[in-house]
């Protein structure tokens, strides 16, 4: 994979608005962002209600994914360009889920909403209806999704990359600092995990750093290119951002996103937990 296979620039996006066969999709948990203004022609996907099962804690099923994309007017052959707020966290999660269900042609808008807004590019409140399609998904590609037992078994053997902030990693806090602090889990991290916050992979304007900068970043933190990798965060969205970096931009082959992440691991009975920096 090269960068052009994974990302589009804001300039490219602006030139390709309204192009047949390209669907822009805004993915935010906060759908009011889309409602207050979005990229012209973009449809919205709600991360919480449309990409996750409404009852069980899980991603949507293959059938639910097919219904979702059919309803949004996305065809199997369309190029889907995902973007969103929070430095593309949720767009990256959606990207991972589109890959999980085998969508061939999906890219991220580099910089997401933030760069688009800071550039002063056009946003509209007009909602464009797309005719429904009959979308066919593939069986989930479990080579990119890790489950809890794999994480426990990876202790001391695989790269475990904890992409949360240092304060979450060491156990000082349980959630990112813009959220109220939950008390339901034990704080800390998976033993032997290295802490490389997702934010180190992004520039201030939300774009990804260059491949060279990224390779240097992970190497400097002790990332072993020769080993399989599991990335995790709190609920699996920031680790999707890092999964995009490691698997898609840098092209490391065996990289999984653990979407259960700390809200699952930190609630498990009996699993090992480490506090502090681990160094």
């Amino acid at each position: 994979m090269s960068r052009e296979d994974v990302l589009v620039t804001a300039d490219w996006a602006e030139k390709n608005l309204g192009t047949e066969g390209i669907v822009f999709v805004e993915v935010d948990e906060d759908t009011t962002a889309y409602d207050a203004g979005h990229i012209p022609g973009a449809v919205k996907i709600n991360w919480t209600t449309e990409l996750q099962d409404p009852v069980r804690r899980d991603v949507v099923t293959k059938e639910q994914f097919e219904q979702l994309l059919s309803g949004k007017g996305i065809g199997n052959d369309d190029l889907v360009v995902l973007y969103g707020g929070n430095n593309n966290w949720f767009a990256a999660y959606a990207y991972w889920e589109f890959k999980l269900y085998g969508h061939a042609n999906v890219k991220l808008l580099d910089g997401g909403r933030k760069k688009w807004e800071l550039d002063g590019r056009t946003l509209t409140t007009d909602v464009q209806e797309r005719p429904t399609t009959t979308y066919t998904a593939q069986d989930p590609d479990l080579s990119i999704r890790a489950f809890r037992d794999e994480v426990v078994n990876a202790i001391g053997s695989k790269n475990l990359v904890d992409v949360r902030s240092p304060d979450e990693f060491t156990g000082r806090i349980l959630a990112p600092a813009h959220l109220p602090q939950e008390q339901s889990q034990r704080p800390g991290h998976v033993p032997t995990a290295i802490n490389i916050p997702w934010s180190k992979a992004a520039n201030e304007d939300g774009t990804f750093k260059s491949d060279d900068e990224l390779r240097e970043l992970y190497a400097a933190e002790g990332y072993d290119e020769g080993k399989p990798t599991i990335a995790y965060c709190r609920i699996g969205e920031r680790s999707s951002h890092t999964w995009v970096v490691l698997h898609e931009l840098l092209g490391y082959s065996d990289v999984k996103n653990y979407d259960g992440s700390w809200t699952e691991y930190g609630s498990l009975i009996g699993v090992p937990i480490e506090l502090g920096t681990g160094k």
Binding site: N86, A177, H178, L179, P180, I235
Partner: protein
């Protein structure tokens, strides 16, 4: 699951569940020439300058973080320009700062 990672409303009012005897809340406003700047991206950086969190300021320029005691940098990016301010939270409670962009 309780709250997700989307930015909650950045109004000036705190959620009713906030316990200011235990929680350290950083709050403030983004301004340019004394006027509030709506929709700025406000980044919370820790004592080492490391990114910790980011929110979008409200229509009135208000922002809010749930953090921990310590020394924090608040950095705002907006179409009106960028700027930053330092905030020392010496303990739990409500701590305020204004961030000017230019």
């Amino acid at each position: 699951m309780t709250a997700g990672c989307g930015a909650p409303d950045q109004g000036a009012d705190l959620p009713a569940s906030t316990n200011l005897e235990k929680e350290t809340v950083l709050t403030g406003r983004v301004v340019a020439g004394g006027e509030p700047v709506a929709g700025a991206f406000v980044r919370l950086l820790d004592r080492t300058g490391e990114f910790t969190a980011e929110v979008v300021a409200s229509e009135n320029g208000d922002f809010r973080f749930f953090a921990a005691p310590g020394t924090w940098t608040l950095r705002a990016l907006s179409r009106a320009g960028n700027g930053q301010a330092t905030l020392v939270a010496d303990g739990p409670g409500l701590h305020r700062a204004e961030v000017s962009v230019a």
